[in-house]
């Protein structure tokens, strides 16, 4: 029997409401299949299963809010007879779920709750969890911290009720906007509190890249044309192959390099807020495929529908504010990543090339990186490598 747990959905999302089950007991599921939809502050996230098996039991009813790491369902392994009695599970499968609650003991704690407990000095063993399987949520920790001053921890508050009163679409959108600001605020505060950022910038002459792109696009129907953004994504991904210390995660006081290049793309949402889901294996993909992936990802992000793997596993992020008219952007690193690359607007600027003054189209690139994982000297070479790659667009 395998426990299928709620995967981590990024540093700013520690819980979500189960919106819909797409499987039922007895159904066969395969790795990568979407089995449920969870509503978070940023999107309806399609939860992918990371194991083949047969659904034995669904543990969380629709409408319940669950913390990351909470078991959602019990799966029977292929060939194993599906039992429906909920026995203590031995394995938890949540796919790339770096922040999932630890397996093997009964104390389920969401990551943000664990961090908050640590900073407030709350002993998690004294906290009564109100999440499913008595998982301890942020709310429980804050409640415990508030009451700890004058009394011993008492009985758990009643389980959180899902709001059932009818809301208008405008009210829901407003409530979601407030919740999204809180999520972004929590993640960015954590980033600035914990990550010692350093910042570097470079100016990249784009004439070669843009001329090459125009030539490519001229022979293509509009549906096949590429945007400069895909050149940037590919260049960043390829550069991380030589500068691996910028692609991965800072966890438990050490850097964990990531094997794949899953580039998070910062996408602003109409009506406010942003998400930064990943395009997977960018370094291995051809430009047309990347363009299709980017179009699809932006469309789904803005429609509010993303997949759990996209939310959980970006290994580095790219933010491009060029379309908004700024010269440059210095990003805030998304925990637990260690770097974010920024691009401003391509514009005609005066540059010196080979001792002569020229007008060229340039873009300002920037790197914000975690000083625990790398130093400025390597960061400078990393930015220079991105520049070099963009001078050879035909090799991207």
């Amino acid at each position: 029997m395998i426990e299928f747990a709620m995967p981590a959905l990024g540093a700013d999302m520690d819980e979500g409401m189960l919106n819909e089950w797409l499987v039922k007991p007895g159904d066969t599921v395969t790795r990568g299949q979407i089995v449920a939809v969870v509503e978070t502050t940023k999107a309806a996230v399609e939860i992918e299963c990371w194991h083949d098996g047969v659904v034995a039991e669904l543990l969380v009813p629709v409408g319940q809010t669950v913390a990351v790491g909470t078991p959602l369902a019990i799966l029977a392994e292929p060939g194993e007879k599906a039992e429906t009695s909920a026995k203590p599970a031995t394995t938890a499968v949540a796919g790339p779920a770096p922040e999932a609650a630890p397996v093997g003991h009964r104390l389920w704690v969401s990551p943000v709750a664990r961090r908050t407990a640590a900073s407030l000095g709350v002993d998690l063993k004294t906290v009564s969890g109100t999440g499913p399987q008595a998982a301890i949520t942020l709310h429980d920790v804050e409640h415990a911290a508030a009451t700890a001053h004058h009394e011993a921890p008492k009985a758990a508050p009643p389980p959180r009720q899902v709001a059932t009163e009818p809301q208008s679409a405008a009210e829901r959108a407003r409530a979601r906007g407030v919740a999204m600001r809180a999520s972004i605020g929590a993640a960015m505060s954590r980033s600035k509190r914990e990550i010692p950022h350093y910042y570097l910038s470079d100016e990249i002459i784009l004439d070669t890249a843009l001329a090459w792109l125009s030539e490519q696009n001229a022979g293509q129907p509009i549906t096949e044309r590429l945007l400069p953004a895909v050149l940037q994504l590919k260049a960043v991904a390829l550069a991380t192959q030589r500068f691996g210390e910028f692609n991965g995660f800072w966890r438990d006081d050490h850097f964990e390099p990531a094997p794949g290049t899953h580039v998070g793309v910062a996408i602003s949402l109409r009506g406010g807020g942003l998400v930064a889901p990943a395009i997977h294996d960018v370094a291995e993909k051809q430009l047309p495929e990347l363009m299709a992936d980017l179009t699809d990802l932006v469309g789904r992000a803005r429609a509010g529908s993303l997949r759990s793997s996209e939310m959980s596993d970006p290994t580095i992020t790219v933010t491009n504010l060029g379309d908004k008219g700024v010269d440059s952007v210095f990003g805030v690193i998304y925990p637990q990543q260690v770097a974010i690359i920024g691009f401003g607007k391509p514009a005609q600027r005066v540059v010196v090339v080979d001792g002569g003054i020229r007008v060229a189209t340039t873009v300002h690139s920037s790197l914000a990186a975690d000083h625990r994982a790398s130093d400025g000297a390597r960061g400078a070479l990393f930015l220079a490598e991105i520049n070099r790659l963009l001078q050879q667009p035909h090799e991207l």
């Binding site: 001229a218 509009i222 549906t223 044309r225 945007l227 400069p228 109409r270 469309g299 379309d323």
Partner: protein, 81 residues
């Protein structure tokens, strides 16, 4: 779709599909679109792809810079479909 009024209505419909927050009554056909609607380069491309599909008109990349208002788009489509 025949008349330029119909083309104009189609252009606006596709624009609103990309930018649903826009109030159609606020749009001025002769003002720059970029000053009226928040469109990034991905939105712009998606918008043109939609026009390409609806009106079966080819829009080369070299023309992008001359298509800046609703009027520009309407007359371009009228002349090229």
């Amino acid at each position: 779709m025949g008349t330029s009024a119909e083309i104009r209505a189609g252009v606006v419909a596709e624009l609103l599909a990309i930018a649903p927050e826009v109030d159609e009554a606020d749009l001025v056909d002769t003002d720059l679109l970029r000053d009226q609607v928040d469109l990034d380069s991905m939105d712009w491309l998606n918008f043109l792809v939609r026009l390409h599909k609806v009106f079966e008109v080819d829009i080369p990349e070299s023309q992008y810079a001359s298509l800046r208002t609703i009027d520009d788009l309407t007359s371009y489509i009228d002349q090229h479909r």
